[in-house]
């Protein structure tokens, strides 16, 4: 492959990288919140995103709703799913060894994926809503990706404002810093755990709703998102919430660069090599995080 790389192509890569990176950041923020507050890596995060995508698909194909109007619905549905999962299963393993929480959420993820296969079949489905691109000078902006970017940026900003300024948000951050001290200060830690899990699931749901317009929907679409979200929080530093933003951008850019210089087939391999390199060189993440 002898491709001449022009400055315009680099610009396009940066634009596409930021567009998809913001989406990664938003979804990964959910995983980072659960990890920060509950010390659990939720392996079912990606499958929850898949449920969000199906919610949007059925509202779009059944009720003919504008898929972007379904984003709040997907978030609400997934918030409830997250709440129920935490209340019934996940809270039981918060203080258990890591093996238990990993295996439990892995079991949930298998059940969700296969439940979806039974309920919705494995057929590929798509939401054909906004296709094509906006052309601006030398650059092309895929319409669905631009809108997904706008939603993701808005929601991520909203979550950060919520965490920074509201009482509940402060309680979440306090719990993530020290659960015991938070409890002594009168914070209902159990309720914070439920809320965090619900909020994180809602972010996965929003991600699913936005991705539904971009890629094909099928029950196994989610698993790779668990891995990518984890990669994002490792890049940014586990337990470091703003780090998720940096990590997301970086993953988006690296994937786009990989598809420019190599082939899209290998973009997952490149992401994996990136993970292994970061773990070798700087396991606390680029911005530094807390060691577990």
């Amino acid at each position: 492959m002898n491709v001449v790389i022009t400055p315009a192509m680099i610009g396009q890569v940066i634009i596409s990288g930021i567009l998809s990176g913001t989406l990664y950041a938003m979804v990964a923020l959910g995983l980072a919140l659960i990890f920060g507050v509950m010390r659990i890596i939720n392996v079912a995060h990606g499958p929850l995103l898949m449920l969000g995508a199906y919610t949007t698909y059925f509202l779009y194909s059944g009720l003919n709703l504008n898929p972007y109007l379904t984003v709040p619905v997907s978030m609400a549905v997934l918030f409830v799913v997250g709440l129920v999962l935490e209340r019934t299963l996940v809270f039981r393993v918060i203080d258990a060894p890591e093996l238990s929480s990993l295996l439990l959420t892995f079991g949930i993820s298998i059940a969700l994926v296969n439940g979806a296969q039974l309920a919705f079949t494995s057929d590929l489905r798509s939401v054909e809503f906004l296709t094509g691109s906006w052309i601006l000078g030398a650059f092309a902006f895929s319409k669905s990706r631009v809108i997904a970017f706008a939603f993701a940026a808005g929601l991520t900003a909203a979550v950060f404002l919520f965490l920074t300024y509201t009482r509940v948000g402060k309680a979440i951050r306090a719990t993530s810093q020290s659960r015991d001290v938070a409890m002594v200060c009168g914070i209902d830690v159990g309720a914070i755990h439920r809320l965090t899990f619900g909020l994180a699931s809602a972010l996965a749901g929003a991600g699913g709703a936005l991705i539904a317009v971009i890629v094909a929907i099928q029950p196994e679409m989610g698993q790779i998102w668990t891995f990518k979200s984890f990669l994002v929080i490792v890049l940014g530093g586990a337990g470091n919430y703003p780090g998720a933003l940096v990590g997301g951008m970086l993953l988006g850019l690296v994937e786009q660069l990989a598809s420019l210089f190599l082939t899209t087939q290998l973009s997952e391999v490149v992401a994996y090599v990136l993970l292994v390199l970061v773990l070798l060189v700087r396991p606390t993440g680029l911005l530094g995080g807390r060691q577990t």
């Binding site: 093996l99 994926v113 039974l118 668990t226 984890f230 391999v269 292994v276 773990l279």
Partner: protein, 306 residues
């Protein structure tokens, strides 16, 4: 009871060793499958059951072994026993490459790295089409008798179970279990945790690679989807958890019980059984984290080394 155990095991082994001339084609096939699952579940148990580091992508070693052996048999013409050993070595090299960065760290890094490994290997196999046949797969020259595979696979099941038995009764095993229970304390006691975890990982990955190579020889045809399915990892995990993780006979018990159930009951409901596997994992983690054997150990005060 204490004396009866080894005698029973010996009798069972003899019975399995003299079974092939009397058995049917289906019988051979079924027993090979049971051997395979005993070896795979046992290999997962060595890293995850004993050390507590969850390998979500153990099928990667199975697949690496299968492809290494497949390529060596089909393109270079190696005899299959040699190719199977090479498959084990390939799995070991892969385990070193993943274990070196990920096992130095505590926490979930290893688990998630293993979760991604499978996808990566599948993408690589599809990409290097000329070597691997890509999505079209790789056909191995036909082999008429599966009896040698029967013995080789049986040997692997015995070897893996023996490794677990030797580890659990050794100081090395005690150190691994210390890492599992409290890694900081293990370090404080002077255990080189990284080195121990890496060694356990190698002992776990190499047999899985050899088993993958044998399975490739047995099936005569490999392709990315048949060799790297997430379902294989799930099955290993379910079998080990059900039988009892961190025990010698747990994976054996889990493999036999679940394989027989699968053949007799779930084969009629192929769509529902992954869902059941997910439910079993959740139920075992919450209700009986030490599995069936763990319950029996507590109830009947059986020794830790079964």
């Amino acid at each position: 009871m204490r004396r009866a155990g080894p005698v029973l095991v010996l009798l069972l082994l003899v019975a399995l060793a003299v079974y092939p001339p009397f058995g049917t084609g289906y019988g051979h096939r079924a027993v090979i499958q049971i051997f395979m699952w005993v070896a795979l579940a046992g290999s997962w148990n060595i890293i995850s059951g004993l050390t507590g580091y969850v390998s979500f992508g153990h099928v990667a070693f199975f697949g690496a072994g299968a492809y290494t052996a497949g390529i060596l048999i089909a393109s270079v013409g190696w005899p299959w026993p040699l190719a199977a050993l090479a498959g084990g070595i390939a799995a070991g090299v892969l385990a070193l490459a993943i274990g070196w960065p990920c096992l130095r760290l505590k926490g979930p890094y290893f688990a998630i790295a293993m979760l991604g490994l499978n996808e990566v290997l599948r993408a690589l196999v599809s990409y290097f089409e000329r070597l691997t046949g890509g999505g079209n797969g790789l056909s191995l020259p036909t082999l008429d008798a599966n009896i040698p595979i029967y013995y080789a696979m049986g040997l692997m099941a015995v070897v893996v179970t023996l490794i677990a038995r030797l580890i659990i009764a050794s100081r090395f095993g005690l150190r691994l279990m210390t890492i599992r229970e409290d890694e900081v304390a293990a370090e404080a006691m002077g255990i080189d945790t990284f080195q121990h975890k890496l060694f356990a990982f190698l002992l776990s990955a190499i047999p899985a690679g050899i088993v993958g190579a044998l399975a490739a020889r047995d099936q005569g045809y490999i392709e990315p989807l048949s060799v790297f399915p997430l379902a294989t990892t799930i099955t290993m995990i379910v079998m080990t958890l059900f039988g009892g993780k961190g025990t010698v006979w747990g994976p054996v018990l889990g493999a036999v019980v679940l394989f027989v159930t699968q053949e007799m009951v779930w084969a009629r409901y192929p769509y529902i059984h992954p869902l059941l596997f997910g439910a079993i994992i959740v139920a075992v983690v919450l209700a009986m984290p030490r599995g069936v054997l763990g319950l029996l150990q507590i109830k009947y005060r059986l020794p830790r080394t079964i």
